[in-house]
Symmetry: C2
Subunit: 210 residues, 2 copies
């Protein structure tokens, strides 16, 4: 179930065009991180992708659509990753689950740094808030599902809130980890796990304490 294709001026029919679209998204991803959304000129994006500005506008109606398509790609990829981590989840503890998901997200972050500014709506223009928000909602939904499956007796509203807080908290501290030199990252990550587990245990006390 891949997310709906965004408004493309013309959907790519040939493999060659699809490749070009992917390269454009890759270039946009890089430039958004390097210089920010506003400063990432469409000309520069096209050039870095080895395409011309005309080709870019062949497939994207405007600049915003590029960021939107990038967000869609993230939603798909992250969804796949989280589901995979949930599948091979026989009977682990909450700590192990948190550990596994945090590590997975951290890997993804490192390979796709633009997901961070996009997710927090920090790509500059408020016009992009929708794209980031959509990605956030998707992630929150995944966590909410996990929480509800593990604690069928919990208040659904509480589960939703806890999922939102957990995502915000995770995003923030992962970001902090990325900002640190590589050798410090494990330290910060450990701190994130402490915070996440501590928070969830307080907010939704395990049934074992019942």
């Amino acid at each position: 179930m891949t997310s709906a294709a965004r408004p493309l001026r013309r959907a790519p029919k040939q493999a060659r065009a699809q490749l070009r679209v992917n390269r454009i998204l890759d270039a946009a991803e890089e430039l958004f991180v390097e210089v920010g959304y506003d400063a990432a000129a469409t000309n520069r994006i096209a050039f870095r992708a080895g395409a011309s500005i005309g080709s870019l506008y062949e497939f994207f109606p405007n600049k915003q659509a590029v960021a939107q398509a990038l967000a869609d790609r993230y939603v798909d990829q992250l969804g796949a990753i989280i589901e995979e981590r949930m599948v091979n989840d026989p009977e682990r503890t909450g700590e192990q689950l948190v550990d596994s998901i945090v590590n997975a997200l951290n890997d993804f972050w490192q390979r796709h740094p633009a997901v961070v500014p996009l997710l927090r709506g920090a790509l500059g223009a408020p016009a992009l808030l929708a794209a980031g928000e959509q990605l956030r909602v998707a992630l929150v939904g995944h966590i909410e599902t996990i929480l509800l499956e593990r604690r069928r007796d919990v208040d659904p509203a509480r589960a939703l809130l806890a999922a939102e807080i957990t995502i915000d908290l995770t995003r923030t501290i992962l970001e902090r980890a990325q900002a640190e030199p590589a050798h410090r990252r494990p330290v910060v990550l450990r701190e994130l796990k402490i915070a996440a587990v501590g928070y969830l245990r307080t907010a939704m006390p395990p049934p074992s304490s019942k």
Copy 2:
């Protein structure tokens, strides 16, 4: 000890000029929130401040300096607030201190919403990262001081890390609270306090447990 005056093209000598500079900062604060840094044209900032574009560039060498001066103002104001909250701190519990500071920051956030995007380096251009980072360092320093004064035996490096995590965590969840409708904010804020207290208690166990 007010922070050093930023590179002004010409420092205001007369009260009239100082007033104008303040009005310009107020206008910039509003526009940064409403439309973001890049879309906040210097002409618009000047117009909203009731000044002309020429006046703006009389005191600020470029657009970035406006944001920088705004950050300086925040550093001063926030520093005063936190110190005030620390002074009337006879022998309260950690929970009460967290509660007090979170409430103070939340009030400030509500009156100065631009502090959020500035603090997280989300005002668009990466060029502004320095201004936001400076503000963050100032806040972290305050928290670090509090932690060290309350637990003189703790590892200083650990206190610094904990202060950083706490600030990130607070900023993020306050942001989430601001994004919610007003009647939901207390709920989210309560969640923040749970997370903060829970984290600090885990990371730096109280001496009472010794």
